[in-house]
């Protein structure tokens, strides 16, 4: 069966420090991968999605970047965190081709920038 792992579960980082959140998927190949951010009490905002290795699309301009060095690995990064980067970050995957299948979410990383 397929599983998605996301870590760390919680993270407290000072303003200006770098960030690296990692997500890996097991049990499937060539998945679509997604990074979402969720502010407290709000909906899901798509940050990045990827349809293959080194193929990343950014949905909103921001202080973050994403990379996909391997088929089932998706990394969210920042060189210098801002206070506004605080939030709940969710990684998700879905089956390709796109459309018509659900997305499966990881357990999320709660990031607090202080």
């Amino acid at each position: 069966s397929q599983t998605i792992h996301q870590w760390p579960a919680t993270l407290v980082q000072p303003v200006g420090s770098p960030l690296s959140l990692e997500c890996t998927v097991e049990g499937t190949s060539n998945p679509n991968l997604y990074w979402y951010r969720q502010a407290a009490g709000r909906g899901l905002q798509l940050l990045f999605y990827s349809i293959g290795i080194d193929q990343i699309s950014s949905e909103v301009p921001q202080n973050l970047s994403a990379s996909r060095p391997q088929d089932r690995q998706f990394i969210l990064s920042s060189k210098k965190l801002l206070l506004s980067d605080s939030g709940f970050y969710l990684c998700a995957w879905s089956v390709q081709p796109g459309g018509g299948t659900e997305a499966f979410f990881g357990q999320g990383t709660r990031l607090t920038v202080v």
Partner: protein, 113 residues
């Protein structure tokens, strides 16, 4: 587009009653819809889905209704239990979005004892 800037509406329901959570979607060409449940501090979990060639689909204690005419989706939970307390999101999907899902703003369901 994504309604990520809105505070979550809340629905309070007495334990044992039925719950109805509504969602309006944006793209009349969307052909696949999903309901997710998100408990506090966790990632969203798939509940039920429906394709645009259907107007109703039933699962265990849950029913999804799709009204394409008015672009409306609803989730009905029968005999609501305390464990149903969570935030519920609808999502739409279409090839026009590439590989993406567009999520609704979410509804917080509170089950009262």
């Amino acid at each position: 587009g994504e309604s990520v800037g809105l505070h979550l509406p809340t629905l309070s329901v007495q334990e044992g009653d039925n719950s109805i959570i509504n969602c309006a979607y944006s793209n009349s060409a969307s052909d696949y819809f999903i309901w997710y449940k998100q408990e506090s501090g966790k990632g969203p979990q798939f509940i039920i889905d429906i394709r645009s060639n259907m107007d109703k689909r039933q699962g265990q204690r849950v029913t999804v209704l799709l009204n394409k005419t008015v672009k409306h989706l609803s989730l009905q939970i029968a005999a609501t239990q305390p464990g149903d307390s969570a935030v519920y999101f609808c999502a739409e999907n279409h090839n026009n979005y590439g590989q993406n899902f567009v999520f609704g703003p979410g509804t917080r369901l509170s089950v009262l004892p």
